[in-house]
């Protein structure tokens, strides 16, 4: 048998090129490079050859083996590369199939307004105080210069707790707070007790209640934020300046504010504060004034030593303005289509 190694190599390389799978490559490897291969068979003819011929044939065999091994490797890599490409192609996804499935939830628009207000006042050096929603007549009225039978009590339509469930308490002693103003008194008493003030710079956001029928502009349950500043030498100019600073920070630098006289039993002088609307008209936002001496006394402070101002307004009303909500009742209907807008 006379076989030329280079011919074997050429046949093998052609075979490798035809291989379409890694298995085929493996088969061809066995066929041309395995123990039973023609190339291996050539080794048997060595013993019939003289050393010079052996050397020549050996070199030819090595060369053929190297070429075949190279071809096997090349083909293997090519096929692997093809397989990877095919796999990637197989893994193709339509990314738009999942559009719209991701979702972030929503804080209630009242909460968003509430937190924004807290942030504005914190940046102005105020801390934030909480108070109970069930209050005593003393905190809600009496301490705020509204003694029993004060005619101005009728300004607040009050919801009282049924006293038959409350041992030892008379009628109309416990109520749902009609405003956040009781927290003024609580803040003063706490500051005095803990020795943390005055100076007091505090805002009190919270839920308040009125005996009122819900309509587009009223809710029986709504939210207010109350501000209280007590220090030595606090003036009505400080009140006007604080309101102005808040208005610019919350509504924008182009906005301005004004105070106009009003009446609240717990402040003297009392005022309403308005903000300028873009059309030049004024929009009423809330009430304010210098803390009445009787209120300071109820909070444990001497009105000859301390003075201060308080202001308050509706969080819901602010949200209504900012987010162009027509009807306040939307805030308590809990329709996800409404709530998801904010």
């Amino acid at each position: 048998m006379s076989v030329d190694p280079s011919q074997i190599a050429a046949t093998g390389i052609a075979a490798f090129a035809q291989a379409n799978t890694l298995d085929q490559v493996h088969e061809i490897e066995l066929q041309f490079l395995g123990a039973q291969s023609a190339l291996s068979g050539l080794k048997a003819s060595f013993r019939d050859l003289d050393p010079e011929q052996r050397k020549v044939l050996g070199a030819q065999m090595n060369s053929a083996r190297q070429q075949l091994e190279q071809a096997a490797q090349n083909r293997t890599e090519a096929l692997q590369s093809q397989a990877r490409a095919a796999q990637l192609d197989n893994e193709r996804l339509d990314l738009t199939e999942s559009l719209g499935r991701g979702k972030l939830g929503h804080s209630h628009v009242i909460t968003q307004t509430w937190e924004r207000l807290e942030d504005v006042f914190c940046s102005m050096g105020f801390t934030v105080a909480d108070g109970p929603e069930v209050e005593t007549d003393w905190f809600n009225f009496e301490a705020l210069n509204l003694p029993p039978a004060h005619p101005a009590r009728s300004l607040w339509d009050t919801l009282y707790l049924d006293s038959s469930q409350l041992e030892g308490l008379g009628q109309e002693q416990l109520l749902l707070r009609t405003h956040t103003s009781p927290v003024q008194i609580r803040s003063m008493l706490r500051a005095v007790r803990e020795g943390s003030g005055p100076p007091i710079y505090v805002v009190c956001p919270g839920r308040v209640y009125r005996r009122d029928t819900a309509d587009a502009t009223h809710l029986p349950v709504f939210h207010q934020i109350e501000g209280l500043v007590i220090d030595r030498g606090i003036t009505m100019g400080d009140l006007a300046g604080t309101i102005e600073s808040f208005v610019k920070s919350y509504f924008g630098d182009e906005m301005t504010s004004r105070l106009r006289p009003s009446y609240f039993p717990f402040t003297e002088p009392s005022a309403e504060f308005d903000i300028s609307a873009p059309d030049g008209s004024w929009l009423e936002v809330g009430g304010c004034g210098m803390v009445h001496p009787n209120v300071l006394r109820a909070g444990g402070l001497d009105p000859e030593e301390w003075s201060g101002f308080a202001f308050g307004f509706g969080i819901d009303r602010l949200a209504k303005i900012r987010y162009a909500v027509d009807d306040l009742r939307e805030f308590v209907t809990n329709d996800v289509r409404f709530l998801s807008q904010f």
């Binding site: 979702k103 972030l104 939830g105 929503h106 804080s107 937190e115 807290e118 914190c122 940046s123 102005m124 050096g125 105020f126 801390t127 934030v128 909480d130 108070g131 109970p132 929603e133 069930v134 005593t136 003393w138 005619p151 300004l155 919801l159 707790l161 006293s163 469930q165 409350l166 041992e167 030892g168 308490l169 109309e172 416990l174 609580r186 008493l189 007790r193 005996r211 009122d212 029986p220 349950v221 220090d231 606090i234 003036t235 009505m236 100019g237 400080d238 006007a240 300046g241 106009r260 006289p261 009003s262 003297e268 002088p269 009392s270 309403e272 001496p293 308590v332 809990n334 329709d335 289509r337």
Partner: protein, 814 residues
């Protein structure tokens, strides 16, 4: 309160455009509601007579009216009102008239019938409120006359403003004029009223006795005789209409006119019906009855005041309403006029209790000028004698009770400037408040503090102390003129930990895709029971409606209603959270102010809750969310023994008995998690399952805030092992997990620890057996200082297996 510019000008020569005056009113604390120009834009509206009324052939709600403008020609008008009769005189807006509303009257056809103008109501002409029908005019007017002339309508401006409750003086034309005059710096004067008197002294015609001095501060009467009841002159009727009152007859109209002008209500009796002209004032007897002017029988209490006659029969309720028995009528000739000062608190209580609110009671309960009675009586007498030819008898009959006495207030200049932030001199302060009747003395140059002694005017019951006068200074100075200054807080403005944690909770919930709901905290009776909860909600004493009469004890009913509402609008799978207070009686009520201020609660059971409802989800989703939510709060370190999160299977009210658990942090029960009971869902009309989670935030926030301390992350390889145990269904995964944790090395004991122990698979099958489940755990071990040896790990493995087998009766699944 409505005031007319022409009327104001009878007290002061006010200047300026209506808008300027309106701004000044607002600036003075009389917040403007509207300005209305009247009498000027009614050109084209003339007096016409109704000739014939017949139905419209093709419309039920329209009739056809023929009217005559005086030229004998019958003009056909289509009209929606039917209150007129043939022969009546009515206002006709002729073709081309521009109505005050801006509507142009044109010739038009209504359902095929020609209309040659429009018949007008008082409101359409903006000369009154009445819109019930066409305005029927005085039959003596001449046809074709312009309505402006016929009704003597004068161009005028009506200002309507909100009177502040502490300012009874602004419930009068005089009071408003006084404030405006001071603001404008023009003279304010009260026209003198000295009506002529004739006949015998009133003292011989009647008497007055006050038996309840705390009820009645003063009581003054006058007698006017020869009164003939008739219509008031048009000028008076027009003013009353413009001020929002309906003209009735000359006596009633004068009564209202004087009240509007001066702010002092009055009352008139038919003297003939008052025996001997004797009046007495006393407290009513319990259950005493009186028929009031409106024909109603009223039952009184001993807290109400009455005016009684010589027979002790009640003929009027003090400050609220007169009695029917002495009412002025067609037969009246002699009028007994009353001007009284009633205790404001009594009138307020009586009018509230009887639900009788009138212009008079409004003024009485806010406090009438204590020194105005004589002037108001003179004004009344002057007007009535002028327009009816009646005669005023000389002398007042007068009695006094406890009338608030004039008082002075000392005002320190440094307090004025210190409170307002102004730099006013004593002179400037005096100049600001003298024109509104606050007369000042001083300052006494000898005193160390610059002090003004201020006489409080009798019409300002709101001015009691120094700051009240300072308010007047601010008002007259102009609050807008006070320079704006910004005080500097010495504090760092920041949220408390609790407030920050609340925000963290919200952020986590939003991140999980939930929407915040805000149901009202009121429930209807039965709402709690329907939610499977005890019916122990606190009740409101005076709810507006029964549906809002119970305070919630749980957030569950409100959130279920929200889910049901959305489901009924085809919004399923809604996922809500809520942060809100619930109200239980708790241990007790802390009503004492000092104690309650310290407790920060009045009801011990007022608690803040967080709740989550996930419609369409099973309990496991809520459990996963629970971990996310709790991880968001900085103060919780779940790794620590005392705060480890545990679930304790429990049957909880309102929740699925087999799918609910209490949430424990360490040993503290802070909430519940699971699924809402299917029966509850059915009761609320919800047709899909709903996962539920609720945490008591007051308890959660009790946990101390901890700052996480960094632990070194080991560089050495980990050893992992998976262990699957077959246990009975009743054995909870958390109890097995806890056993595994306890039987593995923990920090402190050893240099190496289980860094991770977690449940990664639960498996049930027939081969496994009924009532059994396989719980597969993955454990990972690591040492800080070396690679763990096979022996070390194997030892722990044996330990874990033996503990689980012993404690839970399980076996290792091979």
């Amino acid at each position: 309160m409505k005031v007319l510019l022409s009327w104001l000008r009878e007290f002061a020569p006010l200047v300026g455009e209506p808008e300027e005056l309106a701004n000044q009113l607002t600036d003075l604390g009389m917040e403007l509601e509207s300005i209305q120009l009247i009498g000027g834009s009614l050109q084209g509206i003339c007096v016409a007579q109704v000739l014939e009324i017949r139905p419209h052939p093709d419309a039920d709600k329209i009739c056809l009216v023929d009217v005559d403008l005086g030229d004998g020609e019958a003009l056909q008008i289509c009209c929606g009102a039917t209150n007129m009769a043939v022969g009546d005189l009515v206002p006709l807006a002729t073709i081309g008239t521009m109505m005050p509303s801006g509507m142009l009257i044109a010739q038009r056809k209504m359902r095929g019938q020609q209309s040659n103008g429009m018949l007008c109501s008082a409101r359409e002409m903006e000369i009154g409120e009445d819109h019930e029908g066409i305005l029927i005019l005085d039959p003596n007017l001449s046809l074709g006359q312009p309505i402006v002339d016929a009704l003597e309508l004068r161009e005028d401006v009506v200002f309507e403003f909100d009177a502040l409750p502490n300012r009874p003086d602004t419930l009068s034309v005089m009071g408003v004029a006084r404030d405006l005059a001071a603001r404008q710096g023009v003279a304010f004067s009260i026209p003198a009223h000295q009506p002529a008197t004739m006949g015998e002294s009133a003292a011989s015609l009647g008497s007055i006795q006050i038996l309840a001095p705390d009820l009645c501060g003063s009581f003054l009467t006058r007698v006017i005789s020869g009164v003939r009841l008739q219509q008031s002159p048009r000028w008076m009727a027009q003013r009353l209409i413009a001020a929002g009152m309906r003209p009735i007859n000359n006596v009633v109209d004068v009564s209202n006119y004087v009240m509007l002008e001066l702010g002092h209500p009055n009352h008139t009796y038919d003297l003939a019906k008052v025996p001997a002209g004797e009046l007495r004032v006393r407290w009513a007897n319990e259950g005493e009855q009186i028929v009031t002017l409106d024909g109603m029988t009223r039952s009184l209490t001993s807290q109400d005041g009455v005016i009684v006659d010589a027979t002790d029969a009640a003929i009027g309720i003090a400050g609220v309403m007169g009695g029917a028995s002495t009412e002025i009528s067609e037969t009246t000739t002699d009028v007994l006029l009353e001007l009284a000062w009633w205790n404001p608190e009594v009138v307020a209580a009586t009018s509230t209790r009887l639900n009788l609110h009138s212009e008079a009671s409004l003024r009485f309960k806010r406090g009438v000028d204590t020194e105005l009675a004589t002037q108001a009586a003179n004004r009344f007498a002057e007007l009535l004698t002028q327009i009816s030819g009646a005669e005023l008898h000389p002398d007042e009959i007068k009695a006094e009770g406890n009338l608030p006495q004039p008082h002075k207030v000392s005002v320190r200049l440094n307090k004025v400037n210190g409170l307002l932030g102004t730099a006013l001199t004593a002179e400037q302060v005096a100049d600001l408040i003298n024109p509104i009747g606050y007369l000042t003395q001083g300052p006494d140059s000898l005193s160390a503090e610059c002090e003004l002694l201020v006489q409080i005017p009798s019409w300002r019951p709101d001015s009691l102390i120094e700051v009240d006068v300072i308010e007047e200074v601010a008002r007259q100075y102009g609050m807008e003129r006070i320079p704006k200054t910004l005080p500097v807080s010495p504090h760092t403005g920041q949220l408390t930990e609790r407030q920050t944690d609340r925000r963290c909770l919200r952020r986590a919930l939003i991140g999980a895709g939930l929407i915040e709901a805000m149901p009202v905290p009121f429930l209807a009776p039965g709402d709690l029971e329907r939610a499977g909860l005890p019916a122990d909600g606190l009740l409101l004493a005076n709810p507006l409606v029964a549906e809002e009469s119970v305070l919630r004890t749980s957030l569950l009913p409100g959130l279920l209603k929200a889910v049901a509402y959305n489901a009924s609008h085809r919004q399923n799978n809604v996922e809500f959270y809520e942060l809100g207070r619930v109200f239980n009686l708790g241990e007790r009520v802390i009503a004492d102010p000092a104690e309650s201020a310290e407790a920060d609660r009045v009801l011990a059971g007022e608690t803040e809750h967080l709740a989550v409802v996930l419609a369409g989800s099973e309990a496991s989703i809520a459990v996963e969310l629970l971990q996310v939510v709790l991880s968001s709060v900085h103060r919780l370190e779940f790794g620590s023994e005392t705060q480890a999160l545990q679930l304790e299977t429990a049957q909880l009210p309102g929740l699925h008995p087999g799918r609910s658990a209490s949430v424990l942090l360490g040993t503290t029960k802070v909430g519940e998690v699971g699924e809402v009971h299917p029966e509850v869902l059915r009761a609320y009309g919800i047709e899909q399952p709903a996962a539920w989670l609720q945490i008591n935030l007051d308890l959660l926030f009790e946990f101390p805030s901890l700052v996480a301390q960094a632990r070194l992350v080991s560089r050495f390889p980990t050893s992992d092992m998976d262990l699957a145990f077959v246990v009975a269904e009743e054995v909870t995964a958390s109890s097995v997990l806890s056993t595994i944790r306890k039987s593995t090395p923990s920090e402190g004991e050893s240099a190496w620890v289980a860094t991770q122990v977690e449940l990664f698979d639960v498996f049930r099958s027939d081969q496994l057996g009924v009532g059994l489940k396989s719980l597969a755990f993955r454990l990972r071990f690591q040492a800080q200082d070396r690679t763990l040896t096979e022996e070390e790990v194997t030892e722990v493995r044996i330990q874990v297996i033996s503990e689980v087998e012993q404690k839970h009766g399980g076996y290792l699944r091979s």
